[in-house]
Structure formats: structure tokens, C-alpha cells
Symmetry: C2
Subunit: 308 residues, 2 copies
């Protein structure tokens, strides 16, 4: 099946303390022609360039929380948009408290930005839809970290139904609007009074896909309710199981816990990242996760993972 | 002659718009065991690691001005010091206006830093000594840029004089304090009433060296008064001579202008940097400068240049 693009490029998969050659958190999520930036650690703009991400297509930035390793790349990225004379508005979704210091810092240069920032400040409990387009909607869900933190779920809306050309040829020729109704799953009422039943002339070819970004957070089996049936889950896995207590006390997770949640949630693919710099290799994380959930990948920077 | 270490590692030699593989401004100036950080563009902490700079030895950071390409690496670097549980105070010298936004941004993580920052905010005209140790003093001098900007001059104090052991052996054995006086250039008065003339038993082996950091700024021949006789001058050279007007209107300099100032000032070595990303190669900058001042080098990141 020829699915439209839905994939994620890993820009940074390290945690707060730099090291082991990994960079702080950032991901570019590609959906059709859109690019969504998720978190923006220091140097994100360098990685966007290095990995050939079409960063002019970024119109939305989703920030999970206000620890430095998730936000310190924002001043530089926004300044570069300004130097490139960007005019299109950008939307920044983040827990309350980012706008003030960021605007303050950006003002030190003595110029105002060439584009508008629309700040969407999050301060809600439970799940909330924070953005949507014709094709996608994004929900923000509070996670359990040391400060206010949100996970994000990117859910495709139902794909248009495919028209069965042969079946449809038995009916009078339809106009543009009638064809569109069919693709949306509606029956078409002809002027003659005849009804073209959608189920007869269309079929569902593509399942709606979804991607969940879950970082930083402690493990909670209860997350499986909201993550149930997601296509792909990215979950932080700062530590290995032998540092489970440390994960708990620092509000992080282990590779094993991430895998357990993936299993409970019946997702198709698990990506793990946000690795502590104490680990030179991340193969142990992958092994630990795969023992519980075989379709688990310890992500690498510069690689792009398809949401499937 | 075996001079103690005085050299500068280039961490970033690009200008504001990223590109051409260069990073924003930052330099590590090594003097004896000390490391001084000059400017701190985004990703400076990565380059400090990559180029093996002993960054724990940084106790002073000198910021020239508050454009993003000179400061956006500070939040990350200071956070990393915090994560590494640094306890030693750090001094930050910069034009007024950095402290507020930086402290505000660092607070978003919800923790206070493990170490103290001593802010030295500059807001003076003319030259002013802003720091000194036993061996070195640092002056800040206003430059001509779009916003308040300071150049920095790092001047060695006189090196201790070397004792001529053979000459001294003709006199009675001296104690520790008397030897120290000799090294400082003083005559020694013995209890017997005899005087040991400094000029007879010591010699000056090492000249005091100096390094000037001049970025960002328009060209002014008048700078040669204060730069006269400096050992090494780093001067920005954002453009080539054919964009002299653009340099003027954006408050920057050309390679030719940097070389003219070096010649007027009779420095020994000229380093040029802060290259616009429009130049893929910087060899034309070096050529243009060397036509006027042969001992000119277009700097490269990761390279270390000796102050001589």
C-alpha cells in the first residue's frame, strides 16, 4: 500500500547532561508536506541542516516541558528564521512559562522578529486537542515529570475513501462535489432521486495512523488507556532496568518500562530515546526493550523512522 | 625561548546566519593553566568537548555584545556546569542587559544553579580594566556596532626576571623573599649594608604578550592607538572589500580593513574571523588581508593559534 509520508527524523536522543556523542531532545515529524518540530534542544538548527530537513515547512513547534535540554535551541532557531526574513507565523505549543523568558532573550539583539509567534500555553489536566488541520489533529496530555510536562499525540483523521471506478461507472457521471462526498464516506443523492450507496462504490484503503511522543516521564501503566492502539510510540528510556530506582526518583523511565507500556497499549512500533550520557552504547536499551516488546528500536540521530 | 602557554582555540568563526559549516562566535583563550571563554554562540559546549578544551578551568566568560550568535550557547553551557555540580563561582562580563533574560530562562527548569554567577555589567566609555590576576589583566573597550559592544584586551603583566645563577653566586646565599624581590626587578639590600643590583644578577627573558578580541565592529583607524603594539589581534572580517559598503551599513568590517588596522597598530599577528555564511571558502579573506599584512590568518574552527 502506498501510504503518504508519516515519519520521524531523530535530531537529538540524548538527555540533559551532554555526552556519548548524543544531542539533546528534538524530532522532526513529517506528515505529507508538513514538518512538525517536537522539542528543540540546543543545536537543533544545526541538526535540521545536517539531516536535510525542510525546515521552512515548520509552522508548529511542540515543546514537552521547560527543561533546558528541550528548549535551549529555540532562541537560535527563531533568530535564524528572522535572519532568513521569514514572514509566516509560527505556533509554539508549550507549558506556560516559556514565552516570557524567550521573548526577553530575543529582545537583547535590539530587533523585533520578522514574523509573528503565536503562543499556545498549556495548563490543562486530562487530554486536550490543541491543534488540527484537514488531515491531522494533535492532543496534549500531562505527563508525570518534575515540572509541568506534556506528551503529544499526532492522530491522522480518517483518510479519504478510495473510489471503486468500475462500480461507479454504472451510475451517471458525478461532479466534483459529489465525488468529494463519496471520498468523505457519504452517500450521494442524485437529482433523479436515486441514491449511490457509499459502501458500494468506495472502499477504505488506508488506516489512520498515529504517533505519540512521551518524554520526559515516569512510567505509568495507566497511560495505556490513552495510548491504546497508537501506531507508533516514542517513549523516553533514560535508564536501564538496573537503575529503576534512579528512574523513579528523577521522574524518568527505563527501557523495560517503555516496552511494558508499548505492550499494554498494543502499539505497533516502539521507539525509545532520551538516553543518559552514562551509556556509551544504546544496544542494551534495545535488547532490554525487545525482550518484552520485539518491535522496539533504540533510536539514532539522523535516522528517520516510518510511523507504521 | 620557552614561553608559558598563551594561545587561542577557535570554537566558532561564523557570523549570525548559519551556514558554510561554520558555527557562531566563541573562542577559548588559554593562558598558563587558565581558560577564558570569549563569546558563547549556540553549541559552544559541544565544540569545547569536541576540541578537548579543559572547560572546568573556565572561571571567566567575556561577552562582546548581546546578538544571538554571541550568547545563545550560554544557557546550555551554564546548565551543564550545573548538571556537573560545579560549585566554583563564574564571572560573566558583558554589556548591560544579559543578566535578566538569562536568569529568567535558566529558571524555567525549576532549579537554582549549583554555583554562583558574578555578573559584571559593562556600561562605560573609553577603556576600563575589568579583571586582573597576578599574571594578566583584561580591559574592555567600546566598539562601533549596532548595539552596545565591547572588545577585550588580554595583557600579560611583566614576566618575572630570570636570575643569572653564575652572577648571583658571587653574593651571599639569599632567602626565598630576597629571591622573589630579584625576580620582581628589585635590588636586594643585605644586612651587611651591601646592595645586590638587580641589573647585574637578573635578565629579562620573556616579553609580556597581549591578545585583543575585536568583534563585532566597523573599521576605525583610531583603534590603532589602543591596539598599538599588541602581540596578536583577532579582528572580525565579515566581508571582502567588494562588499565594503555593506560592511559599513551593517556595522561590520572587511578583511582588508582588518589588515589595515593590524598594520597601523604594528601587531605581530592578525587573526580574522566572523565570516559571512555567503563565503564557502575563506581563502579570499586570507589573501586580501595578507596583501596588506602578511602575518594574517583566516582562522579555522578547532585550530589553536599561539599568541606570538
Amino acid at each position: 500500500m502506498n501510504y503518504p509520508k508519516f515519519e520521524v527524523t531523530i535530531l537529538g536522543c540524548g538527555s540533559a547532561t551532554p555526552g556519548a556523542g548524543r544531542h539533546p531532545s528534538a524530532q522532526a515529524l513529517h506528515h505529507f508536506q508538513d514538518v512538525f518540530l517536537i522539542d528543540c534542544g540546543e543545536g537543533t538548527q544545526d541538526r535540521l541542516k545536517e539531516f536535510d530537513v525542510k525546515w521552512n515547512r515548520i509552522n508548529q513547534i511542540f515543546i514537552s516541558h521547560l527543561h533546558g535540554d528541550h528548549i535551549f535551541g529555540l532562541p537560535g532557531l527563531l533568530s535564524t528564521f528572522h535572519l532568513n526574513r521569514r514572514e509566516r507565523k509560527i505556533q509554539i505549543f508549550s507549558p506556560t512559562g516559556l514565552r516570557g523568558p524567550l521573548e526577553f532573550l530575543l529582545q537583547t539583539g535590539g530587533e523585533s522578529l520578522s514574523f509573528e509567534i503565536e503562543w499556545v500555553e498549556l495548563n490543562h489536566e486530562g487530554s486536550k486537542k490543541v491543534w488540527e488541520s484537514d488531515r491531522l489533529e494533535v492532543e496534549a496530555i500531562p505527563l508525570d515529570h518534575r515540572i509541568s510536562t506534556y506528551g503529544y499525540i499526532f492522530k491522522e483523521k480518517e483518510h479519504p475513501r478510495s473510489i471503486l471506478v468500475e462500480e461507479l461507472s454504472r451510475f451517471p457521471k458525478l461532479n466534483h462535489l459529489q465525488l468529494r462526498s463519496l471520498k468523505l464516506g457519504l452517500d450521494v443523492h442524485l437529482e433523479s432521486g436515486e441514491i449511490i450507496p457509499n459502501a458500494v462504490v468506495t472502499e477504505k484503503k488506508l488506516e489512520a495512523r498515529s504517533y505519540a511522543y512521551w518524554s520526559d516521564t515516569r512510567y505509568h501503566s495507566e497511560y495505556s488507556t490513552i495510548l491504546s492502539g497508537m501506531t507508533a510510540l516514542y517513549h523516553e528510556a533514560t535508564f536501564l532496568d538496573n537503575l529503576k530506582d534512579k528512574a523513579q526518583s528523577t521522574y524518568h523511565s527505563t527501557a523495560k518500562e517503555a516496552a511494558e507500556l508499548a505492550k499494554l497499549s498494543h502499539v505497533k512500533t516502539l521507539l525509545i530515546g532520551h538516553f543518559s550520557s552514562r551509556y556509551a552504547s544504546i544496544m542494551d536499551h534495545q535488547k532490554e526493550a525487545q525482550q518484552i516488546f520485539p518491535q522496539a528500536f533504540a533510536v539514532e540521530e539522523g535516522k528517520t523512522y516510518v510511523v507504521l
